[in-house]
């Protein structure tokens, strides 16, 4: 386990989020610890509902007000604790130091304002300037995300743009104040293959240019394989495995990761029958004893069903961890 990494830009320790609903309360983020360095891309993969977005929103401290509460842990950005900041201080951090690209380009822009206004608003909040300079910086931000004819596009409404273009505008808002960390929550799910490729390339270029860290949330292993340096795999609110991408693809330590990787048909390989994971993930409010993946795991034994596995190193290097009894035994 990579404890107390001194060079970590964003360091999350034992983060716990509780959600309370009428059906009961549960922890969609359960004791999460991870960190990212500058210039690094950390992938977060996991099934729908596994708590990826919750993790992201708790880092921004923008959890749904009544439903969810942070129940412990620490989030340090550049050594500064974010969880204890006042709301006002936190507002200064948002957008400026840590920013976010949301999932759906169709709905994440306000339809009532021009895209120029929406970019300008972010700039004005964190780097005020005169009308003219603001406008120039707005156009510049659009240019950086490769929007054609940015001088004209600033006056467009989101409704007049294509999905790919809108997602680039969302990107422009996120990077406009040159944040240190960007959280991208499935930014390409609804985009076409070709557009997606363009967008990912753009993100990479921007990262090279600014040295920002990216937390990339996705459930597409293709993206992880091509974009990320390290990855954490989540299942039912827990981190079940984390480590460098190459290692995890080469030798997944958790049965869930293993199954997930082999369940994806390959574009070029053989057409053998796909591996499947039987069953369904547990409902969030289900009370889980033992390993949450045990009911679907082909290796599960009695202990897996009765006792939750600890997080252990999967190999000697210490940068690859997993929580599985098999790894403990090994």
């Amino acid at each position: 386990m990579n404890t107390s990494q001194t060079d970590a830009l964003l360091d999350v320790r034992n983060l716990k989020v509780e959600v309370t609903t009428k059906a009961g309360s549960f922890f969609p983020v359960n004791d999460h610890s991870f960190s990212v360095k500058s210039g690094e891309t950390l992938g977060i993969v996991g099934e729908s509902g596994s708590g990826k977005s919750m993790t992201a929103m708790s880092l921004m401290r923008l959890l749904p007000k009544h439903a969810a509460k942070i129940r412990g842990g620490s989030v340090k950005l550049d050594g500064r604790e974010l969880l204890t900041l006042s709301e006002k201080e936190m507002r200064k951090v948002r957008g400026a130091d840590i920013s976010m690209i949301l999932q759906d380009p169709q709905t994440s822009l306000n339809p009532a304002f021009t895209v120029g206004d929406q970019i300008k608003e972010a700039l004005k909040l964190h780097a005020p300037g005169g009308r003219k300079t603001l406008r120039e910086r707005t156009i510049d931000a659009l240019r950086r995300v490769k929007v054609a004819a940015p001088e004209h596009r600033v006056n467009s409404y989101p409704g007049e743009m294509s999905g790919g273009m809108r997602q680039r505008v969302v990107g422009a808002i996120a990077i406009s104040c040159r944040p240190k960390v960007i959280i991208a929550d499935e930014p390409t799910t609804s985009l076409d293959v070709t557009v997606q490729a363009q967008y990912l390339r753009l993100l990479k270029e921007l990262q090279d240019e600014t040295g920002m860290a990216i937390l990339f949330i996705t459930h597409d292993f293709g993206i992880v394989a091509n974009l990320c340096h390290r990855v954490i795999v989540m299942y039912a609110g827990r981190i079940v495995e984390s480590g460098p991408v190459a290692k995890i693809f080469a030798k997944p330590a958790h049965p869930y990761t293993e199954a997930l990787i082999s369940a994806v048909p390959s574009l070029h390989g053989q057409k053998e029958r796909l591996t499947t994971i039987p069953g369904q993930p547990p409902a969030p409010t289900d009370i889980v004893v033992g390993c949450p993946f045990a009911p679907r795991c082909q290796y599960a034994d009695a202990r897996c069903h009765s006792e939750a596995p600890p997080t252990v190193a999967a190999d000697q290097s210490g940068d690859h961890t997993t929580s599985c009894w098999r790894a403990v035994e090994a």
Binding site: K22, S48, G49, S190, A283, P284
Partner: protein, 292 residues
């Protein structure tokens, strides 16, 4: 994709699961002031609601100098207010129920067809909706009463007329969405006729809307009935509809306040409870309707 996941994460809870937050108190109130009186008036009334007792005129309610014989006091002709309210419940129930039924049947049918076939018929129905919204119900009621005389029927027609357009509009809007739903396409692929699609697939999906809307309209119907009585064009005397009771007692608000107060309270409690239950139904069955 986003949508899919949202629904994937929040599977529908069954009605039973949601019944935990059912508003018990409003239901109890409704039963006590509305439903039970409506059906069992003869058993629970203390006096004949129609027979004046000229010796017991204007008795105040109990605790205000009255007696248990007339717990809510008596009116100008010495009739027991409590018994009149209890008997009136039936008519209020009947007017709102039948009036809304008229509105539901007319509005839903037109809305369903308009939304499904689109084209000129849709345009025509929407114009009718405009027209009915443009003609204040109260004026129509007045004109109708002048034309055919006030009667139970005319009140029901007015209530139905005032409400159908809301059903038509809402149902149509929903049908417009539903007709493009995949399950409708699937059903057509399977070979279903338009009739079957409309009534087997689309109608069941708007019933929640209709039920919720109907519940929320009960209040409006009762209020309309009361206003009609106020203008002297409600259900004719001596039927003790609540609206008539309030409106008969309105002149005495400053002195013999109980004549109008208790029927008014009955209206208020009923409408309040119905609305609360309607709100709950809406939140439970059909959150899309939040804007109704």
């Amino acid at each position: 994709m986003a949508e899919v996941q949202i629904s994937a994460q929040r599977p529908r809870r069954s009605l039973w699961q949601r019944s935990r937050d059912f508003p018990i108190l409003p239901l109890a109130v409704l039963l006590i002031v509305f439903i039970i009186p409506a059906f069992f008036a003869h058993w629970i009334a203390l006096h004949d609601p129609y027979v004046p007792n000229l010796r017991a005129r204007l008795q105040p309610p109990i605790f205000f100098g009255g007696t248990w014989e007339y717990p809510l006091g008596t009116d100008r002709l010495g009739r027991d207010i409590y018994s009149r309210i209890v008997h009136g419940a039936w008519y209020v129930l009947a007017v709102s129920f039948i009036g809304i039924l008229v509105g539901v049947v007319v509005g839903t049918t037109l809305g369903l067809i308009a939304g499904y076939v689109r084209g000129w018929f849709d345009g025509f129905v929407m114009r009718l909706v405009d027209i009915s919204l443009a003609l204040p119900a109260m004026l129509l009621a007045l004109a109708l009463a002048a034309a055919m005389g006030a009667s139970f029927l005319s009140v029901v027609i007015v209530v139905g007329f005032a409400l159908w357009a809301y059903f038509a509009r809402q149902v149509r809007a929903e049908v417009l969405l539903l007709r493009n739903a995949d399950f409708v396409a699937r059903s057509r692929v399977a070979g279903s006729s338009h009739f079957r699609i409309l009534f087997r697939h689309i109608l069941p999906n708007v019933t929640n809307t209709i039920v919720v809307l109907a519940t929320l309209q009960v209040g409006i119907a009762i209020m309309l009935d009361a206003s009609l009585s106020f203008l002297g064009i409600g259900i004719p005397r001596p039927t003790p509809t609540w609206g008539l009771l309030v409106s008969d007692g309105r002149d005495f608000i400053a002195t013999d306040w109980w004549i109008a107060f208790f029927p008014g309270l009955a209206i208020m409690l009923t409408v309040l409870s119905v609305n609360m239950i309607g709100d709950w139904l809406r939140d439970t069955l059909d959150p899309r309707l939040r804007q109704v």
